[in-house]
Homo-oligomer: 254 residues x 2
Amino acid sequence: MQSYPAVTDFLRSGLFRWAGDANSFVGDSYIELVCSPNNPDGAIRDAVLSSGAGKAVHDLAYYWPQYTPITRRADHDIMLFTVSKSTGHAGTRIGWALVKDREVARRMTKFVELNTIGVSKDSQLRAAKVLSAVSDGYDGGASRHRLFDFGRRKMVERWRMLREAAAASGAFSLPEETSGRCNFANETAANNPAFAWLRCDREDVEDCAGFLRGHKILTRSGNQFGADPRYVRVSMLDRDDAYDIFISRLASLK
Amino acid sequence: MQSYPAVTDFLRSGLFRWAGDANSFVGDSYIELVCSPNNPDGAIRDAVLSSGAGKAVHDLAYYWPQYTPITRRADHDIMLFTVSKSTGHAGTRIGWALVKDREVARRMTKFVELNTIGVSKDSQLRAAKVLSAVSDGYDGGASRHRLFDFGRRKMVERWRMLREAAAASGAFSLPEETSGRCNFANETAANNPAFAWLRCDREDVEDCAGFLRGHKILTRSGNQFGADPRYVRVSMLDRDDAYDIFISRLASLK
């Protein structure tokens, strides 16, 4: 994710420095950040480095059934999660980690304590309430209270709308739909990423974000992710009314 | 405050390192942190260094009428505030700063953006609601809704109880009460710090925090603040029921 280099560079930590893309890294000592599903393109990623002295941190923020088939039980050494993407409560600023090594866990806890004087008690209470409501929905609760089923239906519908709008315009293309066996839903399910990685196919447009901005559609340019500026990242998680306006504007572009 | 060296040391920033007590600092380039009223002892502090290349950051977290007379309009270059101590909403993790230099303000904003991806929108809405309720109380609202008047009455009462309990025990002493002309309340008002800096006067007690812990009173030892362990810091801001138990336990100690 684009925020990683900014943070290490800004602090100029004596402990760590940003070393760029893991695919081109040479060395034994590193921390590899694996964002899976990936931001911005929703692809499932595996660590590309392996060394006894290196560590991989798996950011599983988007590994939830509304976004991607849950094809396997996650079992990495260090796994990060957040209520931001699972339930939409980004404002609580709450995440959690599953960590196998006790000493690594202790240092992560210490960092949280120093960086934010621990986690807000208000936020802990809110997050606990939210997560129990989600859990209760799957524990004999009414099916309309089942968050991930709701979320998946919503994401399937939005991706259908987006693919139709892109096809109607004739000027945009999207990653091909992939699917897999979801062990949570117990059925084959499509990948419905939280972001669309949209490409402008018009020959005369080199800056897709600028072109869309001219048509009142705000996106993040591919070059903010080290990619071709013909690509943009589109959030698929805005409110219904904003999403509907985005779709109608996109469909009308030739 | 004791958290400053921990944070700089933990990050091992290439930009800053903790240089210890400003009173013994030699050099021209520095950031001096001035906590006023001071934590733990509630004393009003001024910057002790002065250099064109140095900067002072005034932490005014406790500069509110319930804790201290507002004797002068604060007019420092960089001033930090927080709803944590002004209204008690620490869980929002919201503070604000008044900063004269535009470039310094820009860098502070950038740091907040990188460190916490901006400030939680939930928290901003809650803090705005809380601060308008406080402000409305002083803008023609009912006097029972005047937060700082309520807060000062509460703190005056708690300090009275604490001084009586310390006197009853005969084993503890407290800083002498100071007062000043408060321009907010428009009267002379006592200093009622959010923490009590309590000294155990018993000859046989060298570790006041340990002694109190043995009597089921939890405090922070003076040595956590670089001071004599005969001192402890006591929070004056716990709930009424917990505060009442603390007072009765303290009064019973000889």
